[in-house]
Structures are given as structure tokens and as C-alpha cells.
Amino acid sequence: MGLDIRTPIGLMFSVFGVILTIYGCLSDRVIYGRSLGININLVWGLALLAFGIIMLLLGMRRGRGKA
């Protein structure tokens, strides 16, 4: 199959990660009362970004191996 699914997955989660991380840095801390005081946007944004980058790297590695 021509499209490695890891590429769109990696891309989407990287974008999600970046958005949540930036939003986590900019947002008012008041909204984190319900998430027990944890800036869950920042924490989970970074986690998703890491996951996204790993998927992108895996997708690229296979792409190169095949070429």
C-alpha cells in the first residue's frame, strides 16, 4: 500500500501535541481546577507530541528502507 499509516497518525498527533502544549502555556491556570490543579493540556500535549514524532520517524524509516 502506497501510504504508510504511521505518517498521518504521526502528523495528526504532532499537530494535536503542539496545539495543546501552546494552549497549556497560554491558558489561565484557573481552568485547571477541575483537573486537580494539573496543567493537563501542557502535560498531555507534550506526551502526544512525543508519540507523534515517534510515529513519524517510524513511518519515515520504513519509507527509506523501501526506496
Binding site: 500500500m1 498521518p8 502528523l11 495528526m12 494535536f16 495543546l20 481552568i31 477541575r34 483537573s35
Partner: protein
């Protein structure tokens, strides 16, 4: 409910990716095999995650959390007993016949193994069932969007009345699913299911983390719930001493054997994902790979339900279903689970003993609203919507294949060229989704008709595994045996249901319409026993009629029956990739989980 632009942005990006994958895949769809079988070209891990995700419909996420709130950790029986053994069995023992026979669908396997009439019954009932399941998924999603008032904000801005919420939800979800299946066929559906799998994990993992932290971890949760809620097997020796109202025998035989094997081993919705694999080995590994995340899914979907019911009532900033506003009082509910409210009077609905009836289906939505601030809330809602759409898309792709190959090509137009069947598949996708929309509206108008249909499907499905088991492992089984066995199984299910009643239920759709001679402690127990009777009747009748009818010649059964088929060779794969080894590992972990949560 107040969503901010960042929530909408995340949702929009997800939908852009869903459709984008379809657009990119479009150029790879050249013939009907690409469209219906993904060209049999996908690696095992992709098929495995899709195998899992196709089943992640409305029932899974919302329903399992609801069940977690109602019954506690015993809900995990639906995974560790009611899925894992069957998934291992289909991978290790049955996949060689599905994949090896080159059948393009499960009904087509029945045609190869038995005869035309057995295939016909299976194909038609399956096609009808998928359309309705997809419609029910669509209905549940639109209903949830309405209950959570997700679209109120944007609608107010646009000056549109909220009475349109339901219609817009149905239409938009139908168009998105239609779009990506039309473009990329099964590959597109499978790729999106993989995407949805990761999204569901990404959306629910932080929810479980925050919830558990809040209640003080697993031990804290144990303190706040009755003992029966945190032990999956205690009290199972007797139906009256556990919250589910079933005994261990009904649980293991009814759920663990008949219902679970009947679903995971014969339902084309999931088998289709394995048939798309690029080799026999990959096809056999598909359900085994799916079983690994399946085992830990209770963590993601059952725990939030248990946390929701364990929280103190004062924690309840639960959503009020009639206004969509968050409010502290939860109308006589428990924890984050509100009481069901009468739509006309606004008063909580009470059961016969005067206690409020809880609306368990709101466990997950309320958990999301309770713990997630804007931002990650958008991610959580997207995950929820994704789970509904993957359930819908799975049904639609199974429907268009069975319709095109097993009904259209078999009975209506057998001699067309491949391009015509590819065209037919696309047409079937359109009318399959159109019929689902009709079913969704039928569900919103006539709740009883839907309950009735689901009951009929349960009768039709219950005996299926007996037919496949005998067909694959006993070469003497004949087409007449299989056909009449199936019919008797369905009849036995209907008769059993008609003669019994769950405790406290009225005669009617719940049973007893032939005169109730036995009362079960719960509806679940009745369902399990209906399945056991249906399976047994089908098993016995199939054997008796097979012995009375002429057997097929052995040379015609090569590749279709266990004893006449060469065992698939395994010399080229590493030991840890072998289905039997993987299967043993999966079973080992499942046993361990049962012991831990005993």
C-alpha cells in the same frame, strides 16, 4: 456546555485527517479487490488494531463505562472471558480456513463449505443487521450530541434553532463516513480505525489518570465502592450474590463460549479486517495482536464508570440533561451519574421500590466534563465521536462487501466484469448509509421496534458458532445439516425467550409471551441461557441431519475442513510471531488479569 475555539480546532483537524486519508488512498483503488478487501495487502498490526477498533462502537465506550458504573469490575468478564479466548481461537484455528479458502466474505465461506441456501440465510441476515447496527450507532451519537448540548454554542452564533441538532449530527456523521469509504474503500476504513484506536487511547488515558488520582488510586477506589464492585469473580458461584445476577456456568458457557465465539469467530465485520492481511501468517496474527490491547481496554472504559459512581454526590458537577448546564445537584443520582429524568415533567424517574433510576450511559460524558478543562476536552470529545464513527464505518464496509459479492453477484447479476462490481460497491455504500439514516430515525421514533429487531438478531446469531465449529472441524457435516441446524437454533432461542422472564419484568419484549415457566434473576442471565439453548439445538440438529444426508466428497473439502487441510507451514517466522505462541501468551495474560482482580 462551553467549548472554546481550541476544542473546535482539534475536532476539525481530526475530520480533516479522516477525509484526507480517503483522498490520498483513492488513487490506489483500482479494482473490486482493492475496494472490498484492501487488496489483501495490509500488515498484521494494522489489521489487528482495526479488528479491535471496528468493534469499538457505541456499545463499547459508552456501554462498558455504564456497565462499569452498574456492576463494577465484573464488567471485565466481557473482555477477559467474553472476547479473549474467542479471539485466540479464531486466530489459531479458524483463520487458516477463512483466509486459505480465498473466500471473500464469511457468507462466501459458507457457500464453499456447505451450499447456496446456508450462504443466503447468513448473507441476508447479516446485511440487514449491519445496516441497523450502523443506524443505531448513528442514533446514539446524535442523541449524545443533543444531551451534551455540544452544538448549542455554534448554533446560537449562527442563529439556528437547537431542534436541528439531531438532524445535523446524523447528516454530518453520515456524510463523513460516506466520504472516506467511497474514496478509499476498506483500506480507508481500516486506516481510519487505526487512527481512531490511538485517538481513543489518547483521549481516555488522561481521564483515567485524573480520575484515579482523585479517588486515591485503585486502593482508594476499593474503599469507596462495595466489595462486589472491585472483585470480578467473588459471588459468581450463585446468581443472587453478585450485581450482574448470573452464575459462573451461565457466564462461562453463555458469554464466554456461545456469544463470544459466535461474535469474534463468525462475524464478518471483524473477520473482514483479518482477511485484508497480506499473508496467511498476518491474517492469523490479526486477532491475536488485537487481543493484547483488548485485554487492557477495561482500564480505559470500565474504570471511568467505576470512578463516576464512586465519587461523592457533592462532587457532582454533573450535566443536567434537560438544560445542558453543569450543576452541583445531580437530581438524586449517585456520584457523577444522574437520575433519569422524565422529559415532560422534569421529575426523576423512580423504579418500583421508589429509588431513582440512574442514567448510567452518562458516565463517560460526565467524567469528561468533570475532569477535562477546555483544550483536552476537545480531544476527549473527538475520541468519543471517533468511537461512534468507527463503529458505523465498520458496519458499512462489511455491508457493501456482503451485498455486492454475496447478494448482488450471486443472485442478481452474476456475470458482470470487475469494474461493474467496484461500481456496485460504491453504490452499495451510498444506499447502505442511506438505510442507516432511515434506521437511525426509526430508532428515534419507535424505540420498541429497535429492541425487537435486536432481539431477533440475537436469535439469528446465537446458533452461528455451532455451524462453523462443525463445518470446520467435522468433515461429515452437510449443507442440509447446517441450514436446518441454523433454523432450529434460531427457533430454540425464540422459544426459550418466550418461555422465560427476567425477575420483575413484564410479559412482552422481555420474554414470557409463550407463558413464563421459569424466572431468571436478571435479564443478562436470561440472555446467556437463550444463547446456550440456541447453540445446543443447532449443534444437535446439525449432527443428526448431517448423519441422515449424503456427505460431500472429501476432495471438495480440501482447504475448508481441518482434517483435510495441510497445516500452514511456519518455518519462515520467528518463534514469537507464531500464532500458537502468541495465543498462549495472550491466554496467560488473561488468566493473570482474572487472578489479580479476583
Amino acid at each position: 456546555m462551553n467549548l472554546t475555539p481550541v476544542d473546535w480546532l482539534l475536532m476539525a483537524i481530526y475530520f480533516a485527517f479522516v477525509l484526507g486519508i480517503g483522498v490520498v488512498l483513492k488513487r490506489y483503488v483500482k479494482n473490486s479487490s482493492d475496494f472490498f478487501l484492501a487488496g489483501r495487502s495490509l500488515p498484521a498490526w494494522i489489521c489487528g488494531l482495526a479488528f479491535l477498533s471496528a468493534n469499538l462502537g457505541a456499545q463499547e465506550v459508552i456501554g462498558m463505562a455504564a456497565s462499569g458504573a452498574k456492576y463494577g469490575i465484573a464488567t471485565s468478564h466481557f473482555y477477559w472471558i467474553g472476547a479473549i479466548p474467542a479471539m485466540v481461537f479464531v486466530g489459531v484455528f479458524m483463520m487458516p480456513f477463512y483466509y486459505g479458502s480465498r473466500a471473500r466474505s464469511v457468507p462466501e465461506y459458507l457457500r464453499l463449505r456447505f451450499d447456496e441456501k446456508t450462504r443466503g440465510v447468513n448473507a441476508v441476515s447479516f446485511a440487514v443487521m449491519t445496516v441497523f447496527s450502523s443506524g443505531i450507532s448513528m442514533y446514539a451519537m446524535a442523541k449524545l450530541i443533543q444531551t451534551m448540548h455540544i452544538l448549542d454554542g455554534p448554533f446560537a452564533k449562527l442563529g439556528v434553532s437547537t431542534v436541528w441538532t439531531f438532524h445535523v449530527s446524523i447528516l454530518v456523521s453520515a456524510l463523513i463516513v460516506l466520504g472516506y469509504i467511497l474514496l478509499g474503500g476498506l483500506t480507508s476504513a481500516i486506516y481510519n480505525e487505526v487512527l481512531q484506536f490511538f485517538l481513543i487511547v489518547a483521549g481516555f488515558l488522561p481521564l483515567v489518570f485524573l480520575g484515579l488520582k482523585n479517588v486515591g488510586g485503585w486502593s482508594g477506589l476499593k474503599h469507596q465502592l462495595p466489595t462486589a464492585f472491585t472483585h470480578s469473580w467473588q459471588g459468581m458461584s450463585n446468581a443472587h450474590t453478585n450485581p450482574m445476577g448470573v452464575d459462573a456456568f451461565a457466564l462461562v458457557m453463555g458469554l464466554g463460549f456461545v456469544l463470544s465465539f459466535g461474535y469474534w469467530c463468525t462475524d464478518f465485520l471483524v473477520i473482514q479486517r483479518a482477511m485484508a492481511a497480506d499473508s496467511m501468517g498476518a491474517a492469523r496474527r490479526t486477532p491475536l495482536i488485537a487481543a493484547l490491547p483488548k485485554m487492557v481496554f477495561p482500564l480505559l472504559v470500565i474504570l471511568p464508570g467505576m470512578i463516576a459512581i464512586a465519587l461523592p454526590n457533592s462532587a457532582g458537577t454533573a450535566i443536567n440533561p434537560s438544560t445542558g448546564q453543569m450543576q452541583v445537584s445531580n437530581l438524586g443520582g449517585k456520584g457523577l451519574i444522574p437520575a433519569k429524568v422524565d422529559e415532560t415533567t422534569g421529575a426523576p424517574i423512580l423504579d418500583s421500590s421508589g429509588k431513582p433510576v440512574l442514567d448510567y450511559d452518562l458516565a463517560i460524558p460526565n467524567m469528561l466534563l468533570h475532569y477535562f478543562p477546555t483544550g483536552i476536552l476537545g480531544l476527549g470529545l473527538t475520541a468519543l465521536l471517533a468511537s461512534f464513527m468507527s463503529g458505523m464505518a465498520g458496519n458499512v464496509t462489511a455491508f457493501n462487501t456482503v451485498w455486492t459479492y454475496d447478494i448482488y453477484q450471486s443472485y442478481i447479476n452474476p456475470n458482470a466484469n470487475d469494474a461493474h462490481y467496484l461500481w456496485m460497491g460504491r453504490v452499495a455504500t451510498v444506499f447502505g448509509i442511506a438505510l442507516s439514516v432511515v434506521a437511525a430515525y426509526a430508532a428515534s421514533r419507535f424505540n420498541n421496534i429497535m429492541d425487537f429487531l435486536q432481539l431477533v438478531f440475537a436469535f439469528v446469531n446465537a446458533p452461528l458458532f455451532a455451524t462453523f465449529l462443525l463445518g470446520m472441524f467435522w468433515k461429515r457435516t452437510t449443507g442440509h445439516g447446517a441450514f436446518f441446524g441454523l433454523l432450529s437454533g434460531t427457533a430454540a432461542a425464540a422459544i426459550h425467550q418466550g418461555l422465560t422472564l427476567p425477575q420483575g419484568a413484564a410479559v412482552g419484549i422481555k420474554g414470557g409471551w409463550l407463558g413464563a415457566v421459569h424466572t431468571y434473576p436478571s435479564e443478562m442471565a436470561q440472555n446467556f441461557w437463550t444463547a446456550i439453548w440456541a447453540w445446543s439445538a443447532c449443534f444437535v440438529v446439525t449432527i443428526v441431519i448431517s448423519l441422515c444426508t449424503r456427505a460431500r466428497e472429501e476432495k471438495d473439502l480440501v482447504g475448508l475442513v481441518y482434517s483435510l487441510t495441510e497445516k500452514p507451514s511456519q518455518e519462515q517466522v520467528a518463534w514469537y510471531m507464531r500464532p500458537a505462541v502468541l495465543g498462549a501468551i495472550v491466554i496467560g495474560i488473561a488468566l493473570l488479569l482474572n487472578l489479580i482482580f479476583w
